[in-house]
């Protein structure tokens, strides 16, 4: 979706403000949001693509005026409500008012090291043949899906060159909507800054794009 998450090329947010000797967390509540967001992810109730989609569905002004942990918190509440794990009254009160719904897994402290070490690889074996190879010229499709996509607006319609073929990976446009992993070839595509922005420049932007986002040229 052309949601608030799709920031590339927008002007008007002001300068980047790096913080000297920045701490890992700026408040204790940030620690808690990180931890319970990861722990809820580990229950297997949704995948990472669904999490991202929940974040980008936050109303645009809220999204842009929130810190990233605030975005995580809001999206987690929405996801849990969508999945029937909690209800809005419980969020407001912080007290259980309906029985818990069983989840696939509870992440215990013992499981934490192995779970983090395993991570969530996104590559998936597939018999699908790659349409493109390194060196091929491609054009990112001009699509504006209403659902989740990882093709940023600034790349749509632009021509680039395949520089890496990563094999077949979970396709977020499908997985985010519970429609299965539908593994697709993932490529790193090199675009010239000139092609993207119409300015003379020696620079390039590389974007990881799935095959359905691309057409041959």
């Amino acid at each position: 979706m052309n949601g608030p998450q799709d920031m590339g090329g927008q002007i008007g947010f002001g300068p980047v403000r790096p913080e000297t000797d920045e701490p890992v967390f700026h408040a204790d509540w940030e620690r808690r949001v990180l931890a319970f967001t990861l722990a809820m992810g580990a229950t297997g109730s949704w995948n990472i693509d669904a999490s991202r989609h929940a974040r980008e569905k936050i109303p645009a002004l809220n999204y842009w005026s929130s810190s990233y942990y605030e975005i995580w918190l809001e999206a987690l509440a929405r996801l849990m409500i969508e999945h029937g794990l909690i209800d809005p009254a419980e969020v407001a009160s912080g007290r259980m008012q309906a029985p818990a719904k069983p989840v696939k897994r509870l992440l215990t402290a013992e499981m934490v090291p192995a779970t983090l070490a395993k991570g969530g690889p996104a590559n998936r074996p597939s018999n699908r043949q790659n349409l493109f190879s390194v060196g091929d010229k491609v054009r990112a499709r001009n699509i504006h899906p209403e659902g989740h996509t990882r093709l940023p607006r600034y790349a749509r319609g632009k021509a680039g060159e395949i520089v890496v073929a990563h094999g077949t990976h979970i396709f977020p446009d499908s997985a985010a909507h519970g429609k299965g992993e539908d593994p697709q070839w993932l490529y790193t595509v090199r675009f010239s800054a000139r092609e993207l922005w119409g300015r003379e420049s020696p620079d390039h932007v590389h974007i990881d794009l799935w095959e359905p986002y691309l057409e041959p040229i």
């Binding site: 509540w29 808690r32 990180l34 319970f36 259980m96 215990t108 983090l116």
Partner: protein, 205 residues
């Protein structure tokens, strides 16, 4: 931003609205049995004290010191990094980007805040901020200036937008005058920002 994430801790008696909401959510999740409080504490401890940019600095220092390792990093960064014990969540598919005198690399995630956790830890606020996410692809040289770097015109800037599950680690240029340095000494020169591409490795004092 309305909330800049910088409201520092308050005593329980004067929690900020966001801290109260977070507390309520955590209580609820614990009460419903969806999360194990001990797991939460361990997750926090892991990312606050164990996983951070020192990991990436060791990877970089080894790449500087050991040509065979550097080659491995170029051809299979995931395996080369796992060999040092850094693996897993948000680092499942690693790519190492080697800066050269002609090429500077810089990493962003315009669509969210994807970042190579096993080697760099959690991302800094600026990396997740709207200014960085919006401008890194259209005005990367202007962004670099805000980090104190004026990239020469004859250097190609390569920006990498982390739109998939591939995670990027920049291998900065090795500073001159470090020929005899040990890996451990070299690692002390490798800043977090130099591995994102918004900084350079420190020069020997």
């Amino acid at each position: 931003m309305a909330h800049d994430g910088h409201d520092h801790d308050h005593g329980a008696s004067e929690l900020s609205p966001i801290a109260l909401r977070v507390k309520a959510m955590e209580s609820l999740l614990v009460e419903k049995g969806y999360v194990d409080p001990a797991a939460l504490d361990l997750l926090i401890d892991t990312y606050e004290t164990k996983i951070g940019p020192r990991n990436g600095a060791r990877v970089v220092a080894k790449a500087w010191s050991d040509p065979a390792y550097a080659e491995w990093l170029k051809t299979d960064a995931t395996a080369a990094i796992v060999s040092l014990g850094y693996e897993g969540r948000q680092g499942e598919h690693m790519v190492a980007l080697f800066n050269t005198p002609q090429v500077h690399n810089m990493v962003v995630c315009t669509l969210c805040s994807c970042y190579p956790w096993p080697v760099l830890g959690l991302p800094p606020v600026w990396y997740k901020s709207m200014p960085y996410r919006s401008r890194a692809v259209i005005d990367p040289r202007g962004v670099l200036v805000e980090f104190g770097i004026s990239l020469p015109e004859n250097v190609e800037l390569r920006v990498w937008d982390s739109t998939a599950e591939v995670r990027y680690l920049v291998i900065p240029l090795r500073p001159a005058g470090t020929e005899d340095w040990s890996e451990e000494q070299l690692a002390s020169l490798v800043t977090r920002d130099s591995m994102i591409g918004t900084g350079l490795a420190k020069h020997p004092a």
